[in-house]
Amino acid sequence: MREREDEWTDLMRSAISGDDAAYHRLLRAITPVLRAAARRGLARAGQPVDQSEDIVQDILLAVHLKRQTWDTSAPFAPWLFAIARNKLIDALRRRGRRIFVNIDDFAETLPGETPEPTASPSEVTAQLQALPARQRDVLQSIAVDSASIKDTAAKFSMTEGAVRVALHRGLASLTAKLRDR
């Protein structure tokens, strides 16, 4: 467990200094842990666990957009679990339940426990349609069509800088829509 969390911290440090591959590995590594915790939270609240993937995506978006609040000299896991807990409580509250979420829900997930997503998430996809056209097109192109930033720029006759800005704004407004719905 310690080892796993130290590895996360190292990956996040590399990610922040510009290593995209490390960032990708980190996000893939934390996802099953978040998924298991989201399921446990839903189950305890008497909610169907097949909504867990929406919560996982919610947490990943928050991790991404708030990563500058992580102090690079501190361990990564407590920061991650604080964000995840906040998002899980929000999600359960929105479903009409107030429930105590234990931080151990996250910390105690065993490394071997890697549940696969059960149902396809619907909330991000639905909110994506409500974005301004340019942000939606760029997000669609990069997320769904797996195009690179360069190819996306060529496709929409935009500069790469403009694609990057639209991508970031799209992710930020997607998160805002998920929060305020």
Binding site: H64, Q68, T69, W79, I83, L128, I142, A143, L171
Partner: protein
């Protein structure tokens, strides 16, 4: 969009850097400050005897209290913008301005006074103080909340209340140069009440604005 696709998209956005929160807060406060100063110079202005007042230690102490409040609230705001942070171990920063105020009150108590205690406490400007500080705080509070939106506070209402203290501290620093009531008893009563109003407004606004 499935989760793998989302992760790939977030990775594509890894190079995007947002401003550090300290910088975002500073820029937002700098943008809001002219509005507060406009209110001050249009409605109040610096007291005419400011040059002589500066020789009165109790006039200067007002600035020590309000600046200490602003500085400690800024430090606590930045701390609380982290998701895993709480007031524990950091809340005592906010006791610094209160400590200066208590020391100033005891100092004044030990000196011979021409006016009775209640007269000093009630002063002449209590209503101006209670309206001017909240009015000048409001633009700063909006600015502070805007800057702090970059953060991820665990308790948005608490973070909003501290942002209220921060803006009240800055507004009161400017207001103190107008107010002719220099007794620490006046400051402890009316400045504190005005600050409490701003902190409550900050809590209400922060509860919505600072959710992430």
């Amino acid at each position: 969009m499935d989760t793998d696709q989302l992760i790939r998209t977030l990775t594509a956005d890894n190079a995007y850097r947002t401003r550090p929160i300290g910088l975002a807060l500073m820029l937002a406060l700098l943008a809001a400050a002219p509005v507060s100063l406009l209110i001050f110079f249009a409605e109040l202005g610096v007291r005419p005897d400011v040059m002589t007042a500066m020789h009165n230690p109790f006039f200067d102490l007002k600035f020590a209290v309000t600046l200490a409040l602003a500085a400690s609230a800024i430090a606590v705001s930045l701390h609380l913008s982290r998701p895993e942070a709480s007031l524990r171990g950091f809340g005592w920063w906010l006791l610094i301005p209160a400590g200066i105020l208590v020391a100033a009150i005891s100092g004044e108590m030990m000196m011979p006074q021409r006016t009775p205690m209640m007269t000093r406490l009630i002063g002449k400007n209590s209503m101006a103080c209670m309206t001017a500080i909240p009015a000048m705080s409001l633009p700063l509070l909006v600015g502070a909340l805007y800057g702090l939106r970059q953060g991820a506070p665990a308790r948005p209402a608490v973070a909003g209340a501290i942002a209220g203290l921060l803006s009240a501290g800055l507004a009161a620093t400017v207001y103190a140069s107008h107010c002719t009531d220099d007794s620490p008893l006046f400051v402890a009563t009316w400045y504190t009440l005005a600050t409490a109003i701003v902190a409550s407004v900050g809590a209400l606004m922060g509860n919505r604005a600072l959710r992430y």
